[in-house]
Symmetry: C2
Subunit: 479 residues, 2 copies
């Protein structure tokens, strides 16, 4: 197979190899020594910090407080919610030996924290005045992965998990949708991923949830990526852990709880939603470097260019732009151009002797469009505007891509063709056996029932039985 720039397989030839190679070559992450674990390198971790900052602000602005709960959970706690433990059992990592001896009770490394947080909520909530209880934590979780893939499915990943307790279903459902809305906004506005919000079908629900909602983004190979989930847990965990409150009417009631999470998987989503044959294309709001400056010249002229690059970087930094002046002297400008294209920096400025003489720099956008000159004097303002344009253009491009590859289908052949390259919007009977049949023939699964879908009923696209859900379902192959 032919290699592209920097030895990365072109996306158009083999999407999967392109992804795996790019993650390493762009220095986003590396494989860890224990199977399925990853090392997030500074370039990838900075993207995560930027995403965290955006999401954390929204979580706090909506009245949630951050806290931290233990990594280690007694096995007996996990077992209290039957569906929950059944769903997670195959993926658990278990500590059996600690402090120099066998443990009397096995301890689970958290795969998620509903149980340990449920236990604490039961201690903290007693009156209706304690509600709603709105908590969030930033943490690592461990789920043993059989088919690991960096960022997308790793044995350990980083996430935030919101956990809230409410007096009734209505308030808990409002919370569930609020969290989904935050995710949708962050995906769209920050990651430039035009996600669709919807509800999971019963077979795709979180273990222990009454209703599960998610946002789904389309990757550039047409597959769906679940990029954030929000669960209404009903009274399942409240009953298992005794989360009860005394109402204003002095009655003892069970709380209704929710949980919701977004993870480092989003970094994988950003790679796959925007990248191309040349490498990453990063949305400016998540780019560790929004602008890179490459000084050009030899000898004294290079010294002048280096000095000018540092000065310009200083001015851009003062204007709030994340900028990097590439001062490496053992590498050629051409190598640097390819390198920063591979690493997805939105805008590149080339600064050579002729540019400096005329008080300009050559500007190249990672989205293409050729070289143009910009004035050094006006660079901070001009670049701030261009970065906003870049962010919008990326969202527009991804939206067009998604729309072009989403087809309303009522016929099986059309369905099979639609999910080969993207998503099918189809009527479905809702039967598990029919879902399994569709998956076996096409690899596609029901992703979500979109919240925005118009009412629709009719025969199931596969089996012809009457449709369920009252609207069309998005089917697609998924990560």
């Amino acid at each position: 197979m032919e290699r592209g720039v920097q030895g990365v397989t072109p996306q158009s030839e083999d999407f999967s190899s392109w992804y795996n190679e790019l993650v390493i070559k762009a220095q986003l992450a590396d494989r860890g020594p224990v199977r399925g674990t990853m090392v997030i390198r500074p370039y990838g971790y900075r993207m995560w910090e930027l995403l965290q900052g955006q999401l954390d602000r929204r979580i706090k602005d909506t009245g949630h407080q951050n806290a931290y709960f233990p990594l280690l959970i007694p096995e007996s706690h996990l077992e209290r919610e039957a569906e929950h433990v059944e769903g997670f059992s195959p993926e658990l990592a278990v500590v059996t030996y600690a402090g120099g001896k066998e443990l009397e009770e096995r301890v689970i490394v958290r795969p998620t924290s509903e149980t340990v947080i449920g236990e604490m909520m039961a201690k903290w909530v007693s009156s209706h005045r304690d509600l709603p209880l709105l908590l969030n934590q930033w943490a690592n979780v461990v789920r043993w992965e059989l088919r690991p893939r960096i960022f997308l499915r790793t044995t350990e990943f980083l996430w935030q998990e919101g956990h809230t307790a409410h007096a009734d279903e209505a308030d808990a459902m409002r919370e569930t949708m609020l969290a989904l809305g935050m995710y949708s906004e962050v995906a769209r506005e920050i990651a430039a991923m035009p996600v669709v919000e919807g509800e999971k079908t019963p077979g795709e629900r979180f273990a222990g949830a009454v209703r599960t909602f998610s946002i789904e983004g389309m990757m550039r190979d047409g597959r769906a990526l679940q990029a954030g989930t929000s669960h209404y847990l009903g009274t399942n965990f409240a009953r298992a852990f005794g989360i009860r409150y005394t109402s204003e009417a002095e009655r003892l009631e069970l709380c209704h709880t929710t949980s919701w999470g977004m993870s480092t998987r989003m970094i994988g989503g950003v790679i796959m939603a925007h990248g191309d044959d040349k490498g990453l294309v990063l949305p400016p709001r998540l780019a560790p470097y929004q602008v890179v400056i490459v000084p050009i010249g030899r000898g004294e002229q290079l010294d002048t260019a280096l000095r000018a690059a540092r000065d310009l970087a200083e001015r851009l930094r003062a204007a709030g732009i994340r900028v990097h002046a590439d001062q490496r002297q053992h590498l050629s400008p051409g190598f640097k151009f390819n390198d920063w294209e591979l690493r997805g920096v939105p805008l590149r400025l080339e600064l050579g002797p002729r540019d400096l003489a005329s008080g300009t720099a050559v500007l190249v956008s990672r989205l293409g469009g050729g070289k143009e000159q910009i004035s050094l004097a006006g660079a901070p303002d001009a670049l701030a505007g261009l970065l906003d344009d870049f962010q919008s253009a990326l969202l527009d491009r991804a939206t067009r891509f998604r729309d072009e590859r989403t087809r309303v289908v009522d016929d099986w052949d059309q369905f099979a063709e639609a999910v080969r390259v993207g998503w099918a919007l189809a009527l479905h009977c809702g039967q598990a056996s029919c879902e399994a049949d569709i998956k076996a023939s096409t690899g596609a699964t029901p992703r979500i029932v979109p919240l925005s879908g118009a009412p629709a009923t009719g025969p199931c696209v596969r089996c012809g039985n009457p449709s369920s859900y009252g609207r069309r379902v998005i089917f697609g192959r998924a990560y």
Copy 2:
């Protein structure tokens, strides 16, 4: 034993009970279900976030980049550095079962990350151009604790761990001292803890280090708390993991590495360095709420006071002050006063009908000094100044306390008396057997050889043999 306000044992009666009860009552933290683990509640976690923000900024400003390394480490990796594994073995938690079956190789839950980071550094470093490599991670670690104590010694704790690789000893030692200086500054400027910087004696070194430095703070019971450590690891880990680079002279050389950490233990330090019989006393720069407003009145007058409290809170927030208006209507003002004193809020404003009529509020400082009136119009500016004063006053008080309880001693009886209530500055022979003897008789251990100490030699305070270290050593009982 008599109980103080809100049922907390007075500090003066039993320091240890005071601490344990206060941590729970002030809602800083709770015990987790697995022995030795803790739940950090929102009030305690906010302090950690504020500390994190301060430290993270300094870490980045000095050229370090954040990254994230796996929680799970193969047992064989840990074994590559002999002293390191020997030091940590008794505290390890081991995963032996995962993904539904026994693991072929046991996996350690990280107690610290030198080994897994060493493994990755070896992959990333090849040329002198790759150095220095300056990394940091914010993470949880697990060390099985036999005598757990919330924040001070917990089976799981949160920290940052810096890990760096350098071309030579001089550069690595500069880094080691840079990190120590950051810790010292954060402890002093942010936590108002007048720590002393120094070097650990050989018996107190980090497992695998060539030299270990720490900052030590004095708690209000006279004991020492190690509040941050910085290690020069020499070429020990570089040799074990193969961290090598090609020098400019084209020779293959071993790197010199460092590691340094500050943890949630600092929260325990803040509690014990400043708290009193009434509860916490928080330094404004770490206080989740710097100012609390308690509205006072009944019926319509209360409504007016509540509205005024919300307006004032809004104005203070706009001025960058972390403020909370306590609008709970089922609790009396007196209860609230005690509650916020227990929780250590630096400044309290009482807002009643008479105050509102005169455009003022009653101001009470957690450091005492009686009630005074302040004008509502000038409140934002006045309070910002008063918070700065509070921060300085707290540091001054802690500095006086430490100095009063630190004695230069040359005689064994004076030594024993000094370490009963505080620290002894004494000459010591440096022999492990003599250290053990001192510990057995007094409970005191050598904390550090202070960097700022004047040269001094003479007979050992205990055994009379010639002193070591070239200066006096701080001895004290420690957490």
